[in-house]
């Protein structure tokens, strides 16, 4: 989709972005607005530059919008009333909770130390797979495998603890 600016393709993009935003935010009430804003920005960007992956960019823009909104709401709820709860807590809120932290924490402790180390370096320190591989004497493939497995471990841990990830099949 290197030249994605063709108007007939925008519908498919719009549908996919909306689905992504629903899953990513867990908030059907705001998904339409965010998806619309995302696509508007994409259209604007695609007019002036070539975009290599339309979806990678779209999802990234959505991520930022969702996180901005999450942060705004958190600030607001801190100011208004500590006990204030939205009827539909966003997925970010669920994943920022003490409970999610405990689940992640337990999961990280149980996983092989090497995998934990790889996740820390990749996600926190933003080291490249190659740099991690060199430091830990692993092939780039093996590093990638640890990251992938690590994500799945985390996802499973949440599932087993009964944390509801929206868009669950």
């Amino acid at each position: 989709m290197a030249d994605a600016a063709r108007p007939d393709e925008w519908d498919a993009v719009r549908t996919a972005v909306l689905r992504y935003v629903r899953g990513r935010s867990g908030r059907p009430d705001i998904a339409d607005d965010i998806a619309q804003e995302t696509v508007a920005r994409l259209v604007e960007l695609s007019a002036v530059q070539q975009i290599s992956s339309i979806f990678a960019l779209a999802f990234r823009i959505s991520d930022n919008l969702i996180i901005d909104m999450h942060r705004r709401e958190r600030r607001l709820s801190d100011e208004v009333d500590a006990d204030w709860q939205s009827d539909e807590p966003s997925l970010d809120r669920v994943l920022d909770s003490r409970r999610a932290f405990d689940i992640f924490n337990r999961c990280l402790r149980r996983m092989p130390p090497l995998r934990r180390e790889v996740l820390i370096r990749r996600r926190l320190n933003q080291e490249s797979c190659r740099a991690i591989g060199e430091d830990l004497s692993l092939s780039a493939k093996a590093v990638e495998k640890h990251i992938t497995r690590g994500m799945i471990d985390l996802r499973k841990a949440l599932e087993q603890a009964g944390v509801d990830l929206v868009g669950q099949d």
Binding site: A2, Q50, S52, D96, R123, Q126, M151, R155, G167, D169
Partner: protein
């Protein structure tokens, strides 16, 4: 269900990691778009794992895991400073790398603005993301904000950055030689000349890249002076913000030329050195920047020098 969903999750996890890499070729990008369009369940899985991967909860848990000593640990330099982990937990800093990469064309849609201060005036700039930049005198910066990145070029002078925390949008400051990326939040960058930069961290954690593969992570209370090939670390920064924001210059075995340069940013009447060698003399102490004559008195007393007013400037000589 079971295994099929498991496969999709594995693919989604692999894509998340790949799309977070700084360099992507168009082949891979196109393949990702095809994968997304192939099955709506791919989108669901990608969305779900993105939320997990980017969450503050995971961020905090990883920080804790990285801070608590584990059995095998032969690589201390890469570790987070242990005593500080409590502060780090919950700060939720690390921004995911990325993005320029997603874009092939060099031209980006951006909000680009330049700010400058004359000598003797400071200025507070608030950016659209809420970050605040306090500019010292005789300073020039160019700010570029896109939906996915925040970048400041410090073209000359000195500025104190109080960065609004964002998980996905990194904030970086480039001084030509040295580049500072922010993981945490408040720091000062002083571009003394083309060769020499001083970075001091007041809150959070920053990563400094001085080129040639030289990188450091500086926690709050520390700093770095990079001058060409030589690097000196600075410690014991106890204040909340740099002294100059309140009209003070803190020197600790600081070369006179550096003190003079800093004074010249604030003083209406610049100080000149009668001979360059005077600049290499070292001074320590706290100087009030809006009273150059008093500072000159002090420096002259320390090194047995003299100074005089000469037209629109001061001259320091032996």
């Amino acid at each position: 269900m079971g295994s099929e969903f498991h496969d999709i999750d594995m693919q989604a996890a692999r894509w998340i990691d790949r799309m977070n890499r700084p360099v992507q070729d168009t082949e891979v990008a196109a393949e990702f778009d095809r994968w997304i369009l192939k099955d709506p369940r791919h989108i669901d899985a990608y969305a779900r794992l993105s939320a997990i991967w980017q969450s503050d909860g995971l961020d905090s848990a990883l920080r804790l895991a990285g801070a608590v000593p584990t059995a095998s640990n032969d690589d201390d330099s890469q570790r987070w400073p242990r005593p500080a982990w409590r502060r780090l937990v919950g700060m939720g800093a690390a921004s995911l790398c990325l993005l320029f990469a997603l874009l092939v064309g060099p031209r980006l849609i951006m909000e680009q603005t330049a700010f400058a201060t004359p000598r003797g005036a400071t200025k507070l700039v608030t950016l659209s993301d809420g970050s605040k930049i306090r500019m010292n005198g005789a300073t020039r910066i160019a700010v570029r904000i896109t939906p996915w990145s925040r970048h400041v070029a410090l073209e000359r002078g000195e500025a104190f950055f109080d960065v609004a925390h964002e998980r996905l949008r990194s904030f970086s400051v480039d001084t030509g030689g040295t580049s500072v990326s922010v993981l945490g939040t408040a720091f000062d960058v002083d571009r003394l000349d083309a060769d020499t930069q001083v970075v001091q961290v007041y809150r959070g954690l920053v990563s400094v890249d001085a080129g040639l593969g030289r990188r450091w992570r500086l926690p709050a209370g520390s700093g770095l002076r990079v001058s060409g090939d030589s690097v000196r670390s600075l410690r014991d920064i106890k204040a909340q913000h740099p002294g100059w924001t309140e009209g003070w210059y803190e020197a600790e075995d600081t070369p006179v030329w550096q003190l003079v340069q800093s004074l010249n940013r604030t003083s209406a009447r610049p100080i000149a050195l009668a001979e360059p060698a005077l600049g290499e003399l070292l001074v320590s102490g706290r100087f009030q920047t809006n009273r150059p004559a008093a500072v000159l008195d002090a420096v002259a007393a320390i090194h047995d020098l003299r100074w005089k007013e000469d037209g629109d400037r001061y001259i320091l000589s032996r």
